[in-house]
Symmetry: C2
Subunit: 270 residues, 2 copies
């Protein structure tokens, strides 16, 4: 399959992008002969692979400014392909041993599994469900939206609160617990809006809306640097000004599900 | 804390249930002095724990008939508590080593984390998002519902198709891929209905509905023993007859999200 196969070029875990903003592809000659390969699927009738980077070559697991620039540059199909590939190769790079018995494991099933020869355990790539939620207080034009900022956010940036779904929780329970923990308020009427995979490192973002009857906040300062209510006009102005503009706050980037949620919220007010 | 703390009694990973159908609680005297304990939360102002069973004492990771009987017997709060506890202790029992470097790990943060002293990696309990989906063909009273049976199902049992969300997929994409892979048909208009945690071993079940324009099925026989369309009358009769009745098929048990989805589907036809 050598000459027909395509290899997704990666710099550690970062995408390699050409001048036209497209992902760069090589051939299997571009990786070590003994490299572990993950099968990404067929494209133009050619099998597509990514090579698992060495331990330590993978960089930070969250999206840094360089990654953000790359993400903005990619067209949606390339972004989806890169995201899935990144999650998979990152998982392999950090799961070379068996969590059950400690022995080395081997890649299996084209990279969608790792097998332990010692204890026969099978390990599968991990995807963590994360809820990300809008909280509305009030009705009509007087309604306001709860947004927060994490310490690692760029200056002036606010986004929807978010947190991992824990074992034993439904999506709706996770939303209510997370808002109570981070902002100190109870929410009701949790509804699902949209979902998106997020490959830093491998999350399924589950976007929801909820209502709060109270508006007095008690912020968990280990999680959030700040959280506050924004009026419809403030959210509208921030979204129109964009991330580098002079709106009331810097909104989430267009490729993030938080941006989709804020646009959804503004549409509800029309 | 000894005399005030409560210990959830487990038989391997199975719940211990009294004659009144309640979970049985002991004290910390009921486990080994050096047992690893997972903190489950506060109840009646007392801290509640579960002890991690020995490797090999955990039994099958899916729900067997004994577990099903126990699940039916428990009231919803006890079932939620048991489910979360089971997922956590099972994860610890199967993750005693560091997947990054192979060294033994230690329980941390009350059982919500495991730490590797050798490479400083932190590991967190895993929850796998799984889509479970209704597929409708047709409209009104002539509509029909796609259900399938896995080889391990009890005789005559049919349920909604289901599958893990893969890295790089949204919920909606996972539903469409899974139906195409298992039943060979394309679906549109995927909507979210409800979610439920499922502790065998630790899944977040995400229940959805979708429409199919075609009804010719191509079954993946490695996944499904059978799949077919059921009329509204057949689904109604099966739900009324119940799991041990003489309906057209044995419907999913009341505690499963598939049962909720079938009731939702029948309500849509009213």
């Amino acid at each position: 399959m050598g000459w027909r196969a395509r290899l997704l070029m990666l710099d550690g875990l970062a995408p390699v992008i050409d001048d036209a903003g497209m992902l760069v592809w090589g051939t299997l000659a571009d990786c070590d002969e003994d490299a572990d390969l993950v099968f990404l699927g067929m494209m133009d009738e050619k099998p597509c692979f990514a090579a698992i980077p060495d331990e330590g070559a993978t960089g930070p697991s969250y999206a840094n400014p360089q990654i953000w620039a790359a993400i903005q540059a990619l067209a949606p199909p390339d972004l989806a392909l890169y995201g899935g590939a990144r999650s998979l190769v990152d998982w392999h790079a950090r799961h070379r041993f068996c969590a059950r018995c400690g022995s080395p494991t081997k890649l299996a099933k084209g990279g969608w599994q790792r097998d332990c020869a010692a204890c026969e355990a099978q390990h599968f790539p991990r995807t963590d469900p994360v809820t990300i939620m809008l909280v509305t207080h009030g009705e009509g034009e007087d309604r306001k939206l709860l947004l927060g900022r994490q310490p690692r956010f760029p200056p002036r940036a606010f986004s929807a609160l978010a947190g991992f779904v824990e074992p034993g929780e439904s999506i709706e329970e996770a939303v209510a617990r997370e808002v109570l923990e981070e902002a100190g308020i109870a929410v009701r009427d949790v509804t699902y809006i949209a979902s998106q995979p997020w490959p830093f490192p491998s999350q399924l973002m589950i976007g929801c809306h909820s209502h709060a009857d109270e508006d007095a906040l008690t912020i968990d300062e280990t999680e959030l640097e700040e959280a506050r209510w924004f009026s419809q006009n403030e959210v509208q102005a921030a979204m129109e000004a964009g991330r580098d503009g002079n709106g009331p706050f810097a909104p989430p980037p267009p490729a993030a599900i938080a941006n989709v949620l804020l646009r959804w919220w503004l549409d509800q007010g029309k």
